[in-house]
């Protein structure tokens, strides 16, 4: 069982590294070898698990304590892939820090140890079936990553770590209230339900939830896990923590951790939608999403610190995903899940790119960083492409999911709101273009030595960019299939079928119109017909 072997791998790696550096720091080579083995195994095992889910359906292990369905598989795959790539990048980045005296051998061990621990806690979030255990895992992600944020021990990094710890533990405590409320509500049902803390059981018995309690619980959950997902107004910790952490950790925080929190919000959205209908949770998601997008777009524009700019862009993108979820429907849910994947890849690339800039310039100040393209040409090209992609330029992936979100919004009757969103997205694009024009292009300062960072740092970024291009041009069939099954899980409560993911330029005849995932539903249901109509409608909108 890939799933059963997956979880212990990073945990053992973390314990080995942390125990060793407590007694006698291991040599750099040993530390790196353990780290590399851990991230490679996590990549292989998580992808094997995802493949198992795609082929044979949901996987359950440890007597229902672990459960991965298609929705969980999407997030699991992201942890595996982005965890591996940022882990690989870490090796180059931390070698540089070691050589320049930013960290010593002991801190290197601490870094890799907590990196693995952090991976373990995130894997636990997306594989846990017991909702209270899910909460425990989310809380553990904060504890696992706080030391990564504080690694450099500077005044600013300690301050960021403190804010991160306090705001997230307090926020997530609200999440516990929501979780307990749901559990106690179902457990107290007169019919007597066994194992009411298990997600799979809860989903079957969502109808016994008291409507008022379900709504209160969702508010608690949204405040709690929304804090961790960086939604406005609970985002205060995010720009500090993401900018002060070592760059590969920033990538992991932004590209994976935020998704893990969002994953739980989606889980509860499904549950509460089933109990009280989608109107209430969707209204809240839409509201918080628009606020996050608006506030973050304004902060992105005024940032002169590269990593803070990227951090606010994460708030903006989480807002966009919340908007897509709030719009709902086959298009909206597909847009939300696709954007989660796309943002993850793009943000991992850019935070690694910010690491390259730090390695070359020693600063993140955009007024000092000039002419990256001349100093480090490959890094410059990767950063430029990544920034344009994140700003929503075709042919990259983020464009597709942003377009899908706006299409879904217009389709659902949120025309004016979508115009506001488009204006805000343009503001963000302008900020990225300004960053490119000011810092990546132009003359380089004479004090900075020319020559790019090593291939070990560039390779993971190149892989990310290639993946972004592929996801932007033609989503590979297995990924599209998984996304479709995942959105079917979210949509099951709404009574509508999932969309087959298709690019505007892909001819309908080349894509097999996929069968509805829900086996209990007849293939030629009115919903299925409606789905095709929506799809055609969506496509005609694009031309």
């Amino acid at each position: 069982m890939a799933l059963l072997t997956l979880l212990p791998v990073p945990l053992i790696a973390a314990l080995v590294q942390l125990t060793a550096c407590h007694f006698r720091p291991l040599s750099r080579r040993t530390v790196e070898a353990v780290h590399l083995a851990s991230i490679a195994l996590v990549l292989v095992l998580s992808l094997l698990t995802v493949r198992g889910v795609a082929v044979h359906g949901p996987v359950t292990a440890l007597g229902h304590w672990l459960h991965v369905d298609a929705l969980g598989a999407v997030f699991l795959a992201l942890i595996g892939v982005v965890g591996f790539l940022t882990g690989l990048y870490s090796i180059a980045y931390m070698r540089h820090d070691l050589a320049h005296g930013e960290v010593d051998d002991r801190k290197l061990g601490v870094y890799y140890g907590f990196f693995s621990l952090f991976l373990f806690t995130m894997l636990l979030v997306v594989t846990a079936n017991n909702i209270i255990m899910m909460w425990v895992a989310v809380e553990a992600t904060t504890l696992g990553s706080a030391f990564l944020v504080a690694l450099y021990g500077k005044r600013s990094s300690l301050e960021a770590a403190w804010k991160y710890l306090v705001i997230c533990t307090v926020g997530v405590a609200f999440g516990l209230y929501g979780t307990v409320l749901v559990y106690a509500n179902v457990a107290a049902a007169p019919v007597g339900i066994e194992g009411a803390a298990f997600w799979t059981v809860l989903l079957q018995h969502a109808d016994v939830l008291d409507p008022t309690l379900a709504k209160i619980a969702f508010v608690f959950v949204l405040v709690g896990f929304g804090t961790k997902a960086g939604l406005f107004p609970m985002h205060a910790w995010l720009p500090d923590a993401h900018s002060e952490a070592p760059s590969p950790t920033s990538a992991l925080l932004s590209a994976v951790l935020l998704n893990c929190a969002l994953f739980i919000v989606i889980r509860f959205d499904i549950l509460v939608s089933k109990a009280v209908g989608p109107a209430f949770p969707h209204m809240l998601l839409l509201g918080l999403g628009v606020l996050s997008l608006a506030v973050a777009a304004l902060f992105v524009v005024v940032q002169r610190d590269l990593k803070r700019l990227l951090a606010y862009s994460s708030v903006e993108n989480m807002g966009l995903i919340a908007i897509a979820l709030g719009i709902g429907g086959p298009l909206g849910v597909m847009a939300a899940l696709l954007h989660t994947v796309n943002h993850s890849l793009a943000k991992a690339l850019l935070f690694c790119g910010s690491g390259n800039i730090l390695m070359k310039y020693g600063t993140r100040d955009l007024d000092t960083v000039k002419g990256v393209l001349r100093v480090a040409p490959v890094s410059g090209v990767l950063l430029m492409a990544g920034a344009l992609a994140l700003g929503g330029m075709p042919p990259f992936n983020v464009f597709v999911s942003e377009f899908l979100t706006v299409t879904a919004g217009i389709d659902a009757g949120y025309g004016w709101l979508m115009i506001v969103c488009l204006v805000l997205l343009t503001v963000v694009l302008a900020a990225f273009v300004r960053m490119i024009a000011g810092s990546i292009l132009g003359a380089s300062p004479p004090t900075v030595a020319k020559g790019d960072v090593g291939p070990l740092a560039l390779a993971p970024m190149a892989v990310l960019l290639v993946m972004m291009l592929i996801m932007g041009v033609r989503v590979p069939a297995p990924v599209a299939g998984l996304l479709r099954e995942a959105s079917a899980i979210v949509l099951a409560t709404e009574g509508s079928d999932a969309l087959a993911l298709r690019m505007p330029w892909q001819n309908a005849t080349t894509v097999t119109l996929a069968e509805p995932v829900d086996a209990g539903r007849p293939t030629c249901s009115p919903n299925a017909l409606r789905r095709t109509e929506i799809e055609d409608h969506a496509c005609s909108n694009r031309y």
Partner: protein
């Protein structure tokens, strides 16, 4: 019936002890008072276990005793010994305002809980309201205190509040869940103390308002 009254009365005692923790002048005194408050929590668990015959709660009171009555106060007391910053202002609300605020929070919590329709906790509503109030008192402590060590106590109080809610609403939850939560809580305190210690050594202050490097 007496058992339930005992649970509700002990829960009331929790609010009083938490006010003492918040308003204690010296952080070291807060640590001792926190141990006292956690002992009350353990008593609530025991009374609840006896009343509702939820055997899982005996395990809970065991873990709560080890982590909250012994470990957390000891960790905090030791940390407070090495971290002393007379320059950090007291902060807090002052006894009168704290008392008024506590009363308001308790009343609001009673109002909020009165609308909950769960047969299992019908008789335990006062205790449930107090657990909710306790959670918000802890939050108040974090917001109003300037000393970051006192903020850690605020977190501990919030944690006690949610722990009690969990015990009241989900007494039959599997023990491993409760152990997971308790482990998280103890690690949270340890990590906060470690980061707090490093802040004190690097910045030379425990005043949270001095943490102003990062803005915008």
């Amino acid at each position: 019936m007496h058992g339930i009254q005992l649970v509700n009365a002990l829960a009331g005692l929790l609010v009083i002890t938490s006010l003492l923790v918040i308003e204690a002048k010296k952080p070291a005194t807060s640590a001792i008072l926190y141990a006292l408050q956690s002992s009350v929590l353990v008593l609530v668990f025991l009374a609840l276990a006896a009343t509702t015959r939820a055997h899982e709660l005996y395990v809970w009171s065991g873990t709560a005793f080890v982590t909250k009555v012994v470990l957390v106060p000891v960790i905090m007391y030791r940390a407070l010994g090495s971290l002393h910053d007379p320059a950090t202002p007291e902060g807090g609300l002052g006894a009168t305002r704290a008392l008024l605020l506590a009363a308001a929070v308790v009343v609001l919590s009673f109002l909020a809980v009165s609308s909950v329709q769960l047969p299992a906790i019908a008789e335990l509503k006062p205790a449930l309201a107090i657990s909710l109030a306790h959670f918000f008192l802890g939050l108040t402590c974090i917001v109003t205190q300037r000393n970051i060590l006192k903020q850690i106590f605020g977190y501990c109080l919030m944690e006690n509040g949610s722990h009690l809610t969990l015990a009241l609403m989900a007494p039959k939850a599997p023990e491993i869940v409760e152990i997971g939560i308790a482990t998280d809580a103890i690690f949270a305190v340890i990590i906060m103390v470690v980061i707090g210690t490093r802040i004190f050594r690097t910045l030379g202050t425990l005043d949270s308002r001095q943490l102003t490097e990062l803005k915008g």
